[in-house]
Amino acid sequence: MSKNNGEYLIIRNDNKYEVIIGLEVHAQVLSESKLFSTSSTKFGSEPNTQVSLVDAAFPGMLPVINEHCIKQAVKTGIGLKAKINKRSIFDRKNYFYADLPQGYQISQYKDPIVGEGSVTLDMPNGEKNIGIERLHLEQDAGKSIHDIDPQNTLVDLNRSGVALMEIVSKPDLRSLDEVNAYIKKLRSIMRYLGTCDGNMQEGSLRADVNVSVRKKGDKKLGTRCEIKNVNSIKFMQMAIDFEANRQVDIIEEGGSIDQETRLFDTKKNETRSMRSKEDAHDYRYFPDPDLLPLELNDNYIDQIKKNIPELPDEKKKRFIEKFKLSPYEANILVSDIEISKYFEEVSKNSDVKLATNWITGELFALLNEKNIEITESPISSKNLSKLINLIKDGTISGKIAKSVFEIMRDGDKDPITIVEEKGLKQQSDPKELENLINKVIIENPKNVEAYKSGKDKLFGFFVGQVMKNSNGKANPKLVNEILKKKLN
């Protein structure tokens, strides 16, 4: 494998292979209730406690579209700069499985709700656009549990009927880094929109990965394999790496790739054949006669468009222009909606530059150390902005601020109170500082002489002594100024 110029190539016997990747991301729609029933979608409830008669496919039960899920799909489509289809159709995808109560999944096949769009990735070499083929709505299946009862498979239908958005990318991804950036960007956009919580541990975001390889320079796409249901970015990358190398090995040995569906074994770190093209299911798609075609009018779409919040790309642009942040800083701050919210709250009432540095520096270090999200930050945005203001107005030095921060992290204490209680206020009275400085000069006559004879480096020694004698509270800027006057 080589990563020169950010390129991801597999090299065998002087042949360079390019890896072509397309993703089908299944994102759970953020919604209180399911796509066609009123059952709750809450994660982690007791098995089979969130199952309506519709979800369990009792005789005579009929699906009724949850309008909220439609709105969420349209929103997401707009976030993907995609075409919203004013007429879409729900189809039945027919197959038998124990956790599929209807014997078919209601999905959108020929006429999805959202058409072509694109997602912009910020890669080290610059921006790259990844095409979106389509987004469609579908029902999730239930869960078959094979490892509780030795004789039987148990079925939990809590997830049955939960709304998913399947977001299909074009085969535009070329590296593991791009896959990482793509998933993160998709997740970020949906979290900004509030259409998917993007929680991969809870299965809110999973993907089927299509992988093929071709010799660099070839125009024709190679035969692809689809790796089903991979549920973390790390596993996606591992699966792609294994699969691409497997395909290259076959080609190098003179073989050809069979189009098939494969499974990724996370324990053995390998993909395994699940079924070949010949064994592929015939899903017998046809329009669900229980549901009318979904018709959206312009007014409906416009109303949603009007209420779309600022998305990461636009926010980044604004941060750079308005706050003069570097693209790198802006990227970090807009990557997650909660981080950007926190940043905007802090910078609203305090210095932007300091806010950027404190959030990306001290605060992120703290969050990393505790392994928590910014929403769980022990330091509120309000108190962080107060701390920054204390630095800005000279009440405390940056160094003191760090010790105040250390106190704040245990219980979100008001930094003003901390500074007062601990007497950490910076000494900025020139007379007091002069006294401190005079004392240091008197106590160190030899060093004064040495300095005056040209040992400039000793200046730092005097500053240090003053700071030490003031218990770190002396205003370093003023100390510098006065000291310079005194010594020269």
């Binding site: 008669l53 009792f58 009724v64 027919n94 038998f96 109560p101 014997g103 006669p289 229980d290």
Partner: protein, 486 residues
């Protein structure tokens, strides 16, 4: 006298209960007693007699005469899910299924004071034209021994004709209300698709299924439709249109009404009696000031093949849920696939399996375009035919069936001949239109024959009025001799 009670029509019974000339208990017990004596007809799959009598007594203690069915007993087709009453759809696979919920249509009946006395036999999953595909056995047509009552609502037609219930309800996917009504000398109406909610009705073919009333006469039919037809948000295909007070608005004035006679319905080999019956209907229309207009429905010939693609396709998918996993019959298997195969092989009858196979075939990749997609296009053409015709006419008059009732077993081994029975009714389901079958005469064997009035979408009132005028002039009398009661 008990026997007199069951001779009364629905509207008469309602009137007598409201006037306190009869109590709900008296009426309920009378129909139950007659039902008990009529086991030979095999019209019922499940009886709810004790419970019904209890409910009648409760009604009598605190009667509410504002209701449209004040304490009226009623037996319903076993395709409607009824809370706490076994619902089988005529299938072994649902032999022990007891719903925890009520279909919208039966709920509407309960809300108006109706009392369910039992569940009526039908073809398995409503697939059949003679009630011979029911897991629970054949139903006898009260007209004559060993005669089929039609299907799939054969239990319903038998029960209403034999006066085991003052009115009943059926479902009609390709003629399953109108054909059995025609075979038993009773009235049956299939409303416009979207008029009656499908919520809680065991699905056969979702884009065609409609519930409707089966009664002694047009008046009773109007009252039942008024109760059954409601807009229901639980059914996405339910339509929110202005529903009439069908009974109050019922009148026999058809002066100036333009009635179409489609030439394509004059099929080869149709018995002479049916032609004569049709002529009789035409004559009555003319005599009552209606205008007869020859029309053409050019795609009529394609209706049956289209229907036998669309309906099985939907059925093959609708019936996938009966897999032994969640409810209903389950056979033991070595593994999941084996369990599915055994459950469905043993749980479904031959006709159901035949249609699942047809449906699976026409939806398969490589065949979908040639069958299902083509059928959908033809279906559109058939609907267009009616749209064209309705530019010229207000309603259409045809025979209900191409023959009278046949003997039990006569067509059982000849599915195509059985399917041909629905040739006049199927196009109406494909077009989603309302149609009513009323008894209009007898053939030379003395078996009843029906005429069908087809209306514009959501214009049930017009076909009820036309049927009402025909009924008055025909004064049909059913020659039923209670032969099954010893």
């Amino acid at each position: 006298m008990m026997s007199n009670i069951t001779d009364l029509k629905l509207v008469e019974l309602v009137d007598k209960i409201k006037k306190k000339e009869l109590s709900s208990s008296e009426v309920t017990i009378a129909f139950i007693e007659r039902s008990k004596k009529s086991k030979k007809l095999n019209a019922y799959i499940s009886e709810n007699y004790e419970n019904a009598i209890k409910k009648a007594k409760i009604f009598d203690q605190k009667p509410d005469f504002k209701k449209k069915l004040p304490g009226i007993p009623i037996a319903v087709k076993d395709l409607f899910c009824t809370k706490n009453i076994r619902t089988t759809a005529g299938s072994k696979i649902l032999e022990n299924f007891v719903p925890t919920y009520e279909s919208t249509v039966t709920q509407n009946i309960l809300d108006e004071g109706g009392i369910v006395i039992g569940k009526l036999n039908c073809d398995e999953f409503a697939m059949g034209s003679s009630n011979e595909t029911s897991y629970f056995g054949n139903v006898q047509n009260p007209v004559s021994e060993n005669l089929v009552p039609g299907g799939s609502s054969g239990g319903s037609s038998s029960a209403i004709a034999a006066k085991l219930t003052p009115a009943t309800i059926g479902t009609d996917t390709g003629g399953s209300i109108r054909q059995p009504a025609s075979f038993t000398g009773t009235v049956g109406l299939k409303p416009t698709y979207g008029s009656c909610s499908r919520y809680g009705i065991v699905a056969f073919a979702s884009s065609l299924d409609q519930a409707g009333p089966m009664t002694h006469d047009v008046k009773d039919c109007s009252l039942m439709l008024e109760i059954m037809s409601t807009y229901d948000t639980k059914d996405s295909t339910s339509v929110d249109f202005k529903r009439e007070n069908y009974l109050t608005n019922l009148n026999e004035n058809i002066k100036g009404k333009k009635i179409g006679i489609p030439k394509e319905y004059r099929v080869d080999g149709m018995p002479k009696e049916i032609d004569e019956l049709w002529e009789k209907g035409i004559k009555i229309i003319k005599e009552n000031g209606g205008q007869i207009i020859e029309i053409s429905l050019p795609n009529t010939n394609y209706a049956l093949p289209t229907y036998y693609i669309v309906a099985p396709a939907e059925a093959s998918s609708n019936l996938a849920r009966y897999d032994g996993v969640k409810y209903g019959f389950r056979s033991k298997g070595e593994n999941l696939i084996d369990m599915y195969e055994k459950t469905r092989s043993e749980g479904f009858g031959d006709e159901v399996k035949r249609r699942i196979m047809i449906g699976t075939y026409v939806l398969s990749s490589g065949y979908y375009d040639a069958y299902y997609l083509k059928a959908q296009k033809v279906r559109r053409l058939i609907k267009n035919d009616f749209d064209e015709a309705y530019k010229k006419v207000d309603a259409i008059l045809t025979p209900s069936t191409p023959s009278s009732a046949f003997k039990i077993g006569e067509k059982l081994n000849d599915p195509v001949s059985m399917y041909l029975n629905d040739i006049f009714t199927v196009p109406i389901n494909l077009a989603g239109l309302p149609a009513i079958s009323i008894p209009a005469g007898h053939d030379k064997k003395g078996y009843p024959l029906g005429l069908q009035v087809i209306g514009k979408a959501f214009d049930e009132q017009s076909i009820l009025n036309i049927a009402f005028a025909l009924e008055k002039n025909i004064s049909f009398k059913n020659n039923i001799t209670d032969w099954w009661i010893k």
